[in-house]
């Protein structure tokens, strides 16, 4: 438990992905089975307990200490699990610290009443960090920013293998993953990937650069719209129906309606979208369905999800990944026709004869679904389906981003290489308040898109023009007559009830510093509102 608790503690305070990766890799390397496997499962959300309710934990601690002292402590800390971890008055003579595996085993077999008894013994034996980890685990609240993808990447680093190899075998593996670790430590062969309903690592595209067109022949490529949903792999293999994200996370429980429509034998690669009688709805609508553990009937009816298919990996039992795109495409069209499902349709190809013609299409998409596309996808007719992001066969050609001019309002210090710099910026646009005065309202936050040299300049501006501070955040002077204007690029805009301005940007970044532009000439909120779909 100690190693796991230390890991959780470090992860919680380490903002950078690379740092987290190092911590996870070293933990997997230095911790033995089955402890590390259970830890992995707990971190990636494979292992969820709700063995102890907050009310019970509170009762247990108040039985041991004065209620007023506890209340003062809770007031000060603000988080129940953390408060209890810190104040727990341990009875002396406790047992040795439990391992994470012991805790997991016990939780799987014990009744609720037994768990509560065990919990007190464990809390007595652990130190404050261990108690915190235990309580977070038991109340289902381990929030340390580790995605399944990150965990797999750490495993790949630990074993010196490509992440696609991990993804390929992942779905045949179960906690505590002893076979997986045995393979990564070269003590045994690679576990079998031949599990029906498993995930197959996906093929990704590179962004195309203007210079690429000169050396590429338009005749070698097929083009289709780049749909603005989430990439999925829909599987029905020997009765196993699954819906995977592009990183291999099983998202089927959020989309029971889509699973119902997978009445075929094979594996489709496509885009998950909200499809209303064949008409595409916005990404904002899809977001209503994402990251939900379950979906109720009302939600399913309001935001019906479906798949727009663009590739076929498995047709019946036949693996098509070694075939060319041209061959797979023909098989896909026949496959979708046979499936004849109201929620699975085909991403149509866009015929073209020159890059100029295609560029024209990209700049002026026709009415209908294409207006919601993010741009175009280009795929070589002769490309086989290759996991990862190979250079050359597939390209994405995104639409130009939206641009607005916004005024810097708040700045926050960065981490690591940027820890001495104010590098995270909140920016706003003008809006008329109740008194008819123009006020800035924050519309987004960005922390990249500028050069190191520009970062130094902005940092100096922030320091020279700070009017208030809250912890690591500085409020920067911004009035009609004074302020730093950023040209901000972003991919799309949605309504948002969480933001005061009522809009939320997708993928915002600083595209230019407009030292020359007076703050009063920055954009109005109304300009953004007109962009809403």
């Amino acid at each position: 438990m100690r190693a796991f608790a230390n890991l959780l503690d470090r992860l919680a305070f380490t903002p950078q992905r690379n740092g987290k990766l190092t911590l996870l890799r070293d933990f997997m390397r230095d911790t033995s089975d089955p402890e590390r496997g259970w830890a992995l499962a707990a971190l990636t959300g494979e292992l969820v307990f709700d063995a102890a309710k907050p009310a019970f934990i509170r009762k247990a601690v108040e039985a041991r200490m004065d209620a007023e002292l506890f209340a003062l402590s809770y007031d000060y800390v603000g988080d129940l699990a953390e408060t209890v971890a810190l104040v727990w008055p341990a009875k002396p003579g406790a047992n040795r610290e439990p391992d994470l595996s012991e805790v997991v085993e016990a939780l799987r077999s014990a009744s609720r009443a037994q768990v509560q008894k065990l919990l007190e013994g464990w809390l007595d034996a652990l130190d404050a960090d261990g108690r915190w980890a235990l309580l977070k685990l038991l109340t289902g609240g381990l929030r340390v920013g580790v995605s399944a993808r990150l965990a797999k990447q750490a495993l790949a680093a630990m074993g010196g293998v490509a992440i696609e190899e991990i993804e390929e075998v992942w779905h045949g593996q179960h906690p505590p993953y002893e076979d997986l670790f045995a393979w990564l430590e070269k003590r045994s062969d690679k576990p079998s990937a031949d599990t029906p309903g498993r995930f197959r690592p996906v093929m990704l595209a590179q962004a195309i650069e203007a210079a690429d067109f000169a050396r590429l022949d338009a005749a070698d490529f097929a083009a289709e719209w780049k749909w603005d949903g989430i990439r999925v792999q829909a599987v029905n293999e020997r009765g196993h129906r699954r819906l995977f994200s592009r990183t291999g996370d099983d998202i089927g429980t959020s989309f029971p309606d889509v699973l119902d429509f997978l009445s075929f034998e094979g594996v489709i690669d496509g885009e998950l979208l909200v499809l209303d009688a064949g008409r595409l709805r916005s990404f904002g609508d899809l977001q209503q369905r994402l990251n939900r553990k379950t979906a109720d009937a009302k939600l399913l009816a309001k935001y019906p999800a479906g798949i727009r298919a663009y590739d076929l990996l498995l047709d019946g039992e036949e693996d098509l990944r070694g075939f060319t795109f041209r061959e797979r495409r023909a098989r896909l069209e026949a496959f979708i026709g046979r499936a004849n499902s109201p929620r699975i349709d085909l991403s149509p190809l866009q015929p073209f004869s020159s890059w100029e013609e295609l560029g024209e299409l990209r700049a002026h998409p026709p009415d209908g679904d294409a207006l919601l596309a993010e741009g175009l996808m280009l795929k070589r007719w002769d490309s086989v389906y290759e996991a990862g992001r190979p250079k050359g066969p597939w390209f994405k050609w995104k639409r130009d981003p939206h641009l607005i001019d916004a005024v810097l309002m708040y700045a926050q210090r960065g981490h690591g290489k940027r820890s001495g710099f104010y590098s995270d910026y909140t920016f706003g646009v003008w809006r008329e308040d109740a008194n008819g005065e123009r006020q800035l309202t924050p519309v987004g936050k960005a922390y990249f898109g500028f050069t190191d040299e520009e970062l130094k300049q902005i940092d100096k501006f922030v320091r020279d023009n700070t009017i208030e501070r809250y912890g690591p955040v500085r409020v920067v002077k911004a009035t009609r007559d004074f302020g730093l204007v950023f040209e901000v690029a972003f991919e799309g805009l949605q309504r948002s009830t969480r933001h005061k301005s009522g809009v939320a940007m997708r993928f915002p970044r600083i595209s230019r510093l407009r030292w020359d532009k007076p703050a009063r000439d920055a954009d109005e909120l109304a300009t953004l509102e007109r962009m809403l779909d």
Binding site: F13, D66, L69, Y76, V77, T83, V87, D129, G416, S419
Partner: protein
Amino acid sequence: MPKPESVLCPSPAGLYCPPGDFHIDPTRPVARAVVTHGHADHARAGHGTVVATPETLAIMAARYGEDFAGSTEALRYGETLTRDGVEVSFAPAGHILGSAQAVVRAKGLTVVVSGDYKRRRDPTCAPFEPVACDVFVTEATFGIPVFNFPHDEDEIARLLKSVAQFDERTHLVGAYSLGKAQRVIALLRKAGYGETIYIHGAIESLNALYERFGIALGPTAPATAEKTKKSDFAGRIVVAPPASADDRWSRRFADPLSCFASGWMRVRARARQRQVELPLVISDHADWNELTSTLEEIRPGEVWITHGNEDALLRWCALKGQPARALSLVGYDQDEGES
């Protein structure tokens, strides 16, 4: 029996002893001051006469210049100064080098002003000695049950593990320049770390002072020397005052990993607020257990709480039947000061 307030009472400049006509740790210039230790909120310049331990006097001279007071009188631990029927002596407080509890005896009463103190072993100063008394004046910086500090060795082990794990980054340890910085360095040495430790300029002269008093700190070098490259500090430990560690000063290092050695780091929100990546729970103050066990050990007639989080400690005293009152003295750092 006379009232304790006739021996020592709160006044606008701090605790005042009427029969002896002196203040203890006065927050503004007074004629006669008894100073418990060298931290800026307790030891200020500009008094007429200062009575303190030789170490504290040396610290004050190093920080404020030799003429920081009209005159000084060095009083070692255990020695007694008698004037106007008032005896003053010092007992070690275990807070930083030279830190002392002021023991005041008059009219048959003993009042101990503990200043800031802690109970765990610290290689850079003499350990706290309990003194039987009628009134024990205590701080309560960490006077809430949530503040129970781990072993220093475990915290230093976490730092050293991180240095090994992230050897391409610079571990930048924020530590107050007087006391904490030297203690962190001494603890690193105790853990077997023999590499050069790089230090901020503000720590240099205090390190030299500690070494003069026989506290060995091993090889150190200025972090700001000419002709250093960022990469020179990769895999190294740099110790700097927290404000510098947070700011522009830190840009000279390779991808700094910010560490902060403070008791406040016990609470996660505090560490997050400061954007600390490796919080090190190392404090020069007594934690909750130390505060309460000290009161149980001394069992004074009365407890007076000078500053800090006194509500929980008052509650604890009430539960134990220990008479106590809060003085709520102002002028002592409770938050981002030298804690």
